[in-house]
């Protein structure tokens, strides 16, 4: 396989909101920057078709008490997130600056020329999110990056980080549209590859890509960080979301309706009529409500917008256009499905796992020269933008005082990827990527899913390891596109195995980590559960947030 070499100061892996913000800031600081993106930066990551809510503290609106504002966030949108409060503080000290920057760059952060607070908040409580017109946010951020000289390379999947001794010196990957290895020599690397969305079974059995995050987010950043010895945390703590059934889409706070049962009885107590300021917070208080209703013989549950006023309907549709809903609303219009006539069933989405890369307030990981931002370190749009920006700034500073270290042709990780790629491309028969992905998803859902006890997980990890070994030895790809998909599955198998190890090690029940053999929550374990690879062995530890 041919090899292409590129040299830069700062390499951003993943061109979502975090990666582009990192690129923009690093270039402003004077660094040469490459953003390597698996798809196309104009249309990649969770924010690809836009968003409409941005968490921000605005001093003139909220007054001086930031603590109260952060506490409110922990009661609402941030309730499930297992990270340190220090990260939240950093985010909200900086978020408003980013809001102003984005507005200046051409992303309309206002509504009718004013800050518009709505959604993700309880009636009568402080409002935490502004509405913004994010439909073209990726286009705007790409333009800003290019304006600052950032080199964007689309269609390259970075697979591994490269180190010389303990120093990060770049990364290696494959092109997705041609058989070619790409080696990027960099002084600092920012990871921003997003979530891991194909670890557990999807909403639609057999339809792997039906996921609200898109199909390209396969935990590549976490997997490569782990292989290089960086710390990951809380892989055993899954999350679940809520949204329309079976058309997987997030953004429940954009809906203006009331969650009701078949007979019209509201599930929650927050609103009884559609309210454009608050939506229905039951979707955030209890994302499991639809599943519980079904289990209790009371299902289904609907998002019922039928009482919406004409003006509020137009308002909701406007924001849906900015929140990545046009595919759904265009199909609804064509099929005569009308928010004003038809309550839409809401469901609890399947488990999503993958944990996080440990990163601090400076977006530094546990490895010097390696930074992480966005969903793989600390997600949501505002956090991705803030920590992308901070990560880019610190990566540029690190690069400025670091010399390039040449990458040897015989670097073991380059050799390993070449060999892996040649083998997968060269085999005549064997499992394809999707066959392997289905095997992974069912093993995760059945053995480290909603219920996890020791014997179940010991059986599960043993089965998963067998699948992993067979996958690595027998998977096939007929072209470069399928090769990248195979490498994604190898990354996810790695993260799946780590999930089992960490779930076995967390001997308590907490949130969605449900261990009937350890049914109580252990208050002393309200900590980051950390895993890292030390000389091919796994080390697990507990750290305070």
């Amino acid at each position: 396989m041919k090899e292409e070499r590129i040299k830069t100061d700062v390499l951003c892996i993943g061109g979502g909101i975090a990666g582009l913000m990192a690129g923009i800031r690093a270039a402003e600081m004077g660094a040469d920057v490459v953003v390597a993106e698996k798809g196309n930066v104009l249309y990649s990551g969770c924010g690809r078709m836009g968003n409409d809510h941005f968490e921000t503290y605005i001093p003139k609106v909220h007054g001086p008490d930031r603590e109260a504002w952060i506490d409110e966030l922990l009661r609402t949108a941030k309730g499930e997130i297992l990270i340190g409060k220090g990260l939240l503080k950093t985010q909200f000290m900086k978020a408003y600056d980013i809001v102003k920057l984005w507005h200046e760059w051409g992303i309309n952060m206002k509504y009718k020329k004013k800050w518009e607070f709505a959604g993700h908040s309880f009636p009568g409580r402080p409002m935490t999110h502004i509405k913004y017109e994010g439909r073209f946010q990726k286009k705007v951020l790409t333009r800003q990056a290019k304006k600052r000289g950032v080199k964007v390379i689309n269609r390259v999947m970075i697979y591994d980080l490269l180190k010389e001794g303990s120093k990060i010196v770049g990364a290696v990957g494959v092109k997705t549209r041609e058989d070619k290895i790409v080696v990027i020599n960099a002084k600092a690397v920012v990871l921003g590859t997003g979530k891991c969305s194909r670890l557990y079974q999807s909403l639609t059995p057999g339809w792997i890509m039906n996921d609200g995050h898109g199909g390209t987010q396969s935990g590549d950043g976490r997997a490569m960080a782990y292989r290089s010895g960086a710390e990951l945390q809380n892989l055993e703590m899954p999350q679940r979301h809520i949204g329309p059934k079976y058309f997987a889409r997030f953004g429940q706070a954009t809906w203006i309706g009331v969650v009701k049962d078949w007979y019209g009885k509201p599930a929650g107590t927050f609103v009884t009529k559609p309210d454009k300021r608050y939506g229905d917070m039951i979707c955030e208080v209890n994302k499991l409500a639809p599943e519980q209703y079904t289990q209790q013989g009371k299902g289904p549950l609907y998002m019922d917008c039928t009482d919406i006023t004409k003006a509020d309907h137009e308002y909701m549709r406007h924001w849906m256009d900015n929140e990545g809903y046009p595919a759904m609303t265009q199909y609804m219009d064509k099929d005569g499905i009308d928010f004003r006539k038809h309550p839409i069933e809401f469901t609890t989405y399947p488990l999503r796992g993958g944990g996080l890369i440990v990163a601090n307030e400076k977006a530094e990981t546990s490895l010097k020269g390696l930074y992480a931002a966005g969903d793989e370190a600390f997600g949501d749009i505002s956090a991705a933008a803030v920590f992308g920006y901070i990560g880019g700034e610190n990566a540029a500073k690190h690069a400025a005082k670091t010399k390039h270290i040449a990458i040897k042709k015989t670097h073991p990780r380059i050799k390993k990827l070449k060999q892996l790629a040649d083998e997968i491309r060269g085999r005549a028969s064997g499992p394809e990527w999707d066959e392997t992905n289905i095997a992974l998803m069912q093993t995760m859902s059945d053995y480290v899913g909603k219920v996890r006890n020791e014997s179940l997980m010991l059986q599960g990890i043993s089965h998963l390891r067998m699948i992993k070994k067979k996958a690595e030895e027998t998977m096939i790809a007929t072209n470069s596109h399928e090769l990248a998909r195979c490498l994604e599955v190898i990354n996810m198998l790695e993260l799946g195995e780590l999930t089992f190890l960490m779930a076995l090690d967390r001997k308590e029940t907490r949130g969605l980590h449900n261990r009937p053999d350890y049914p109580f929550t252990n208050p002393t374990l309200n900590m980051a559960h950390v895993i890292r690879k030390v000389r091919s062995k796994n080390e697990m530890s507990w750290k305070t947030y």
Binding site: K38, G39, N40, L42, Y43, S44, R48, M49, R155, T176, R177, T204, P205, G206, W207, I208, M209, N210, D211, G214, G215, T216, P244, K245, Y246, F247, A248, W262, P300, Y302, D304, G324, P326, A327, M328, Q330, Y331, M332, I337, K341, H342, P343, I344, E345, D434, N479, H481
Partner: protein, 77 residues
């Protein structure tokens, strides 16, 4: 999910091929009508439809397992 191309309307600009991050159009050639090589990898986010300069030249077909479930106005028994 799978994009459907109206071959009579398509002007072969390949904008849909360029934008799709899942690369469902993999293998399409410049100046030719795009091939929907990997329809099952479509995530129905409308990127291709939104960049298409000719209204109606490309559209998404929402597959049966992904259809919305909505409350009917009445149920005949």
């Amino acid at each position: 999910m799978p994009p459907v191309i109206n071959e009579e309307e398509c002007i072969k600009c390949n904008k849909c091929v360029e934008i799709c991050s899942e690369d469902v159009f993999f293998g399409s050639k410049k100046g030719e009508i795009p091939i929907v090589r990997y329809p099952r990898e479509c995530v129905h986010f409308n990127g291709c439809v939104s960049v298409c300069p000719v209204p109606g030249a490309i559209s998404l077909r929402i597959p049966l397992p992904v259809q919305l479930v909505y409350k009917p106005e009445k149920v005949d028994l």
